[in-house]
């Protein structure tokens, strides 16, 4: 038994590492500062096949798996999280729901362009009034002849307003069951559909080069055939999508934590204080040793969850554990790296300053750390809290 990568996985990892170092690192600080979406980088990632990584070749994919996808995310986030989340959301929220739940026709229509990275898809789940709490969904869709008519608002939707955004998959209440509980369904809304308004992008604390908007549906009509999967199955579908996404966000978190280690190790060999390189001081050596240990443990956690996912074994608890420990590692490492860098770490144009701003959302997105603890506790057989 081995936890090391196969030669092909290692080759992929090294390729993405090289790409991030050569193509992302030199340009990202400026894009980030100007809050610009990295179109050229997205196009280059598309040519490399990163958007098609976990999908079969018949839909334009690379024939890889979710583990390979997470490897790529870790290496990208090691350099920049805006780029990593753009890929993460494009694949696991944009394309994956269509691949997992779509009809053959829907797959053929959307996946080739989503896999090529020439089109981005978004997933409209979170609303101003709630995210993981699906019962709070307010957006509605009702049938009118052979159309669905959507009304409601979605909040914090990644990749929803770029020049290449082609669709948003929105969750909406399509009825009530006999106990009065909402029946939630997923519906594909193509970009540019009348009645879909993309609000101006948010001003965020971090992930400044990623694209995030509020979306409004106002009597927005799409063909009945745009229903994704079965009617009323939307809740189960997005739980599956979120479980997978947690592994991906865990891998991204490990990338950020590793980026903090990389930058700190380099800086500690260069910077001098009181006549010595700061790497000679044990106070900082211990700090860096802890950062390395945290990163290593979190990496093992996402790899375990991703391996289970790819092998078709249960992975819900492991995904929550990985997301919990990895986002914590990212947050703590970002704080420690900034401390090691002193004043330079507080500058927006230093990678460490970006890591600090980008780390916090990892404890929130794709389920908060509190939600992860709920999932873990319930997987241990503890009762649902009231």
């Amino acid at each position: 038994m081995s936890t090391s990568l196969s030669p092909e996985q290692e080759e992929l990892r090294a390729t993405v590492e090289r790409f991030a170092r050569n193509e992302v690192a030199p340009v990202i600080a400026k894009l980030y500062e100007q809050e610009e979406f990295p179109y050229d980088i997205v196009a280059a990632m598309g040519r490399m096949g990163l958007f098609g990584l976990p999908f079969p070749e018949e839909y334009g994919g690379m024939g890889g798996d979710y583990f390979a996808f997470c490897l790529a995310l870790e290496e990208l986030a090691r350099v920049d999280s805006s780029v990593a989340i753009t890929l993460e959301a494009g694949v696991s929220l944009g394309a994956m729901p269509i691949f997992r739940f779509g009809t053959e026709e829907q797959k053929r229509e959307w996946l080739p362009r989503l896999c090529a990275g020439t089109m981005l898809g978004a997933f409209g789940l979170t609303e101003p009034g709630g995210g993981s709490d699906a019962g709070a969904t307010r957006t509605t869709a009702h049938r009118d002849g052979d159309e669905w008519v959507l009304n409601g608002t979605k909040a914090f939707i990644t990749n929803s307003g770029t020049e290449i955004t082609g669709l948003v998959t929105a969750t909406a209440v399509t009825g009530r069951d006999h106990e009065g509980r909402p029946r939630i369904s997923s519906i594909i809304v193509p970009a540019g559909t009348p009645g879909l308004t993309v609000a101006k992008k948010y001003s965020k604390v971090g992930w400044s080069s990623s694209d995030t908007h509020e979306l409004a549906f106002d009597d927005c009509r799409v063909p009945a055939a745009n229903l994704l999967g079965e009617e009323g199955r939307g809740y189960a579908q997005f739980l599956r999508i979120l479980d997978e996404g947690r592994v991906a966000v865990a891998a991204m978190s490990v990338g950020l934590a590793q980026g903090c280690v990389d930058e700190s190790l380099r800086y500690m060999g260069e910077r001098e204080a009181f006549g010595r390189r700061i790497g000679e001081y044990q106070a900082l050596q211990f700090k860096l040793a802890d950062m390395e240990a945290r990163t290593h443990v979190a990496r093992l956690a996402w790899r375990d969850a991703a391996a289970r996912l790819t092998e078709g074994r249960p992975f819900k608890k492991e995904a929550a554990v990985a997301k919990l420990v990895a986002s914590d590692a990212a947050m703590v490492n970002a704080r420690e790296a900034t401390q090691i860098f002193g004043g330079y770490g507080f500058m927006n144009d230093s990678p460490v300053g970006r890591f600090y701003r980008d780390a916090k959302i990892l404890e929130i997105g794709e389920g908060t750390s509190e939600v992860q603890r709920m999932v873990i506790a319930q997987a241990m057989g503890l009762p649902r809290p009231h």
Binding site: E8, A14, T15, M48, G49
Partner: protein, 262 residues
């Protein structure tokens, strides 16, 4: 157009990001760890792939000499799209000099019956920059160095060759050896599909005996070149800072004139 057979010489080198060490007895680079594709060879691989593509049919064969049957750098180039590789690996090849290496590579290249041989102008680790022209001489092919643009047609290769003043246009019959400079083309990043496909591509592993080279003609035994001493490189001198007090432009012009840049 006819089938175009391009051979690209690739070197697998220690990762330049890791600290390098010299063997204190021979003053040559230690190559004990994992080796990777020399980035300066990725330009040749990309150019070879583009030329084969433009010819409307053809393929790239990689030729490499490396210790311990190392193939990880070759796998990278195969993942980019090369069709096959010939790897010469033999313990007797340790301590080879440039000419010895050229003899080995020439013997391997002959087997591939190339229309065109592409190499980098020089490698990134230990280099003399003489190997490609030695190779051309041994193969009996014409060689054109410092190529920045290539077109192939009618059994000839037409190139733009970088010079200090601009570029020369040169035409030569095929087969030929060309050396390409870094930045001539944008090397592609291998896709995962390419990486998986590389797994099944043939790598011919040959020894000196397989190539029919006489014993003692290559490797340390045949080397006529020896590193006798090593000096640390001169550290870069600090630059001069010109503070503009109204005359900065004249001082910059004077500085550049002194360097004979203008």
């Amino acid at each position: 157009m006819r089938f175009m057979n391009v051979v690209v010489c690739v070197k697998q080198i220690p990762d330049p990001a890791a600290p390098a060490r010299l063997d204190p007895s021979t003053w040559t680079l230690e190559r004990e760890g994992k080796l990777i594709l020399d980035e300066s060879d990725s330009y040749g691989v990309e150019m070879g792939l583009q030329l084969a593509d433009q010819a409307g049919g053809g393929e790239v064969t990689l030729v490499s000499m490396a210790p311990r049957n190392e193939t990880s750098g070759l796998r990278t180039a195969l993942a980019m799209g090369a069709a096959r590789a010939i790897l010469v690996s033999d313990p007797v090849l340790g301590g080879s000099d440039a000419l010895g290496t050229a003899k080995v590579l020439a013997a391997a290249i002959r087997r591939a019956e190339p229309d065109l041989v592409v190499a980098a102008t020089e490698s990134t680790d230990g280099y003399t920059g003489t190997l490609p022209v030695q190779l051309a001489e041994l193969l009996g092919f014409p060689s054109v160095t410092f190529v920045k643009k290539v077109t192939v047609g009618d059994g000839k290769v037409h190139v733009e060759r970088q010079t200090e003043a601009g570029f020369d246009e040169v035409e030569t019959p095929l087969p030929a050896v060309i050396t390409v400079t870094a930045g001539v083309v944008e090397p592609r990043y291998p896709s995962f599909k390419g990486i998986m496909a590389a797994k099944g591509k043939p790598v011919d592993q040959l020894t000196v005996a397989d190539l029919g080279l006489p014993e003692g003609s290559v490797g340390a035994a045949g080397a006529r070149q020896e590193v006798v001493s090593v000096e640390p490189a001169e550290s870069r001198k600090a630059g001069e800072i010109i503070v503009d007090e109204g005359d900065a432009h004249t001082r910059i012009v004077a500085y550049l004139e002194q360097l004979k840049v203008i």
